[in-house]
């Protein structure tokens, strides 16, 4: 297949359709509006349903219903809208309904700004809603990777019966890059024998529910979920290692910030001869703690760069467990770090020239 030039948001929507998503429920918010716009045009062409709900709360509960009936369903929003969806996500996690949620993050808290941000890291990776649950969190750094992850995200959701969050930001949504659809090879997945599709020839009804009023039974349910989360951690953790072979310093960054870090690494190696590499988590949950710990053992110090005042840096520090200094560089509110800021920070850490 040949490459086409697409906006991140539009590419994500097309990738979802090509992955078999036929149901989109959402409510408008910048900077992800091209996703519902694209879906409203394309889904009717493939026999799907686009529905602009009355609110984010309604939209996520429609996803709950459609996913519960076994359909591939999704919603998308940006930070304030994702906050509104948290109750529904908790119910979906409790009821073990597969679905994909796209969050093109913008500056917060509150209504914040409409510019790119990564300040929903805690919310995405720590549950966000109430209760003992996790979502798989995918963090693409290019439009192509967003396309590939969208397809894999639906498979992960179905395989483990878990909500999957694709965490991008306004930059990824708005930028255009060449993409190729259909690169991802679909997994072999089990039948959705649990879906509420009518009794048919079954003897017992399928029920989608997150209420377990007996504490002992809920504890058992929590243990089942925890076992699934362990399995996901073992199988689905992904990261990219970039120029780490000879690195004296390691940058940890994800999403669009990681590509800014790559630009900085190219320049600092050329201008100062300081050997810097990048470890880029591609899944934020499960987090590549072991890979980071292993890579950190070979470097002098670590720099975490985020578009927040410091969230993922906690996980980096936990992974490294104090064995190396971990510095932090963050921009927030919708401001984007420039490669030069990262270079200056690394030069300072290295004490000038290498």
């Amino acid at each position: 297949m040949s490459k086409i030039l697409m906006k991140g948001n539009e590419a994500i929507a097309e990738a979802a359709i090509q992955a078999g998503c036929r149901y989109f429920f959402g409510y408008p918010i910048t900077p992800q509006n091209q996703i519902p716009e694209y879906m409203s045009r394309r889904l009717p062409q493939v026999g799907g349903c686009f529905l602009q709900a009355e609110s984010e709360v309604a939209a996520i509960n429609m996803v709950y219903g459609a996913g519960g009936a076994g359909a591939r369903a999704m919603t998308s929003s940006s930070s304030p809208g994702i906050s509104l969806k948290q109750e529904g996500i908790s119910y979906i996690a409790g009821a073990q309904v597969p679905c994909v949620i796209v969050n093109m993050m913008r500056g917060g808290p509150g209504l914040g700004s409409i510019q790119p941000s990564q300040s929903d890291y805690y919310q995405a990776t720590r549950g966000g809603g109430h209760g003992d649950y996790r979502c798989v969190v995918l963090a693409p750094s290019t439009v192509q990777e967003a396309v590939d992850m969208m397809a894999e995200g639906f498979d992960i959701a179905d395989q483990y019966r878990i909500p999957v969050i694709l965490c991008g930001d306004g930059m990824l949504g708005q930028m255009m890059e060449p993409v190729e659809m259909g690169r991802y090879t679909p997994r072999k997945l089990p039948e959705k024998t649990w879906a509420t599709t009518g009794m048919g020839s079954r003897k017992t009804p399928n029920i989608i529910n997150s209420l377990y009023i007996d504490a002992a039974i809920l504890e058992q349910k929590n243990a089942e979920l925890a076992a699934i989360y362990d399995e996901i951690s073992a199988n689905e953790t992904k990261w990219e290692s970039y120029r780490m072979e000879d690195a004296d310093y390691m940058v940890v960054a994800y999403g669009t910030t990681a590509r800014i870090a790559k630009s900085a690494i190219t320049k600092i190696r050329a201008e100062y001869g300081i050997k810097v590499g990048l470890l880029r988590p591609m899944t934020l949950w499960p987090f590549p703690s072991a890979a980071i710990a292993e890579a950190a053992a070979k470097v002098k110090a670590v720099l975490t760069v985020e578009m927040s005042t410091g969230q993922m840096v906690d996980d980096v520090r936990l992974a490294i467990a104090g064995s190396k200094p971990v510095e932090f560089l963050g921009r927030s509110g919708g401001m984007i770090p420039a490669p030069r800021e990262i270079i200056d920070k690394l030069v300072e850490m290295a004490g000038g020239k290498a």
């Binding site: 030039l5 409409i114 930059m171 708005q174 930028m175 590509r259 190219t266 490669p339």
Partner: protein, 182 residues
């Protein structure tokens, strides 16, 4: 070689489309490309800009802060982006709408009367294409023929008939810049 460009002007001057043309043309030539628009709350007639990267290497940051070339179609854009040109880089000024010159002495400045040239061709709306021709002449970011080959990808088949005047504008800008360089 990596070309990192900022194209800026009033909303409506076609700066986003100019960026898209360059990006498509770069991709058409098999290069690595990215296009990143400024987006945000902006008043009508305010500043619009996009960052375009055309490179032999995979694109890192899509946000252009150290530009090899900057195109400014109006004064607020000159004021805002003049400082982003790398030393030795190029600044293209639409001299039809911008009276002042650049204060930078470490860059190459090309003053192109884009609106007047477009008017002379019969349509001021191709002013951007005049500048684009100059950019291509000076930087060689893409081949001038590539623009024609991808024109309808950006503007759609319905606008194919507009290629003639756009081609004239592109070639006029190219010729003006070549004269300046001679």
């Amino acid at each position: 070689m990596t070309h990192e460009m900022i194209i800026a002007g009033f909303g409506g001057q076609g700066v986003m489309s100019l960026g898209e043309l360059l990006t498509y043309a770069g991709m058409h030539e098999g290069k690595e490309v990215s296009w990143m628009p400024s987006y945000g709350p902006e008043m009508r007639g305010g500043a619009a800009s996009c960052g375009v990267i055309v490179s032999d290497e995979p694109v890192g940051s899509p946000v252009v802060t150290e530009a090899t070339a900057v195109v400014v179609m109006n004064l607020p854009s000159l004021d805002k982006f003049e400082e982003n040109v790398l030393p030795g880089g190029c600044l293209f000024i639409n001299s039809s709408l911008i009276e002042r010159n650049s204060t930078r002495t470490d860059i190459k400045v090309y003053r192109i009367p884009a609106n007047e040239e477009a008017q002379a061709l019969g349509n001021t709306r191709v002013a951007g294409m005049v500048i684009l021709g100059a950019v291509i002449a000076v930087t060689g970011v893409v081949a001038i023929d590539s623009i024609g080959e991808i024109f309808t990808k950006v503007f759609g088949e319905k606008r194919a008939k507009l290629w003639d005047i756009n081609k004239q504008a592109l070639e006029r800008g190219y010729a003006i810049a070549k004269e300046m360089m001679a």
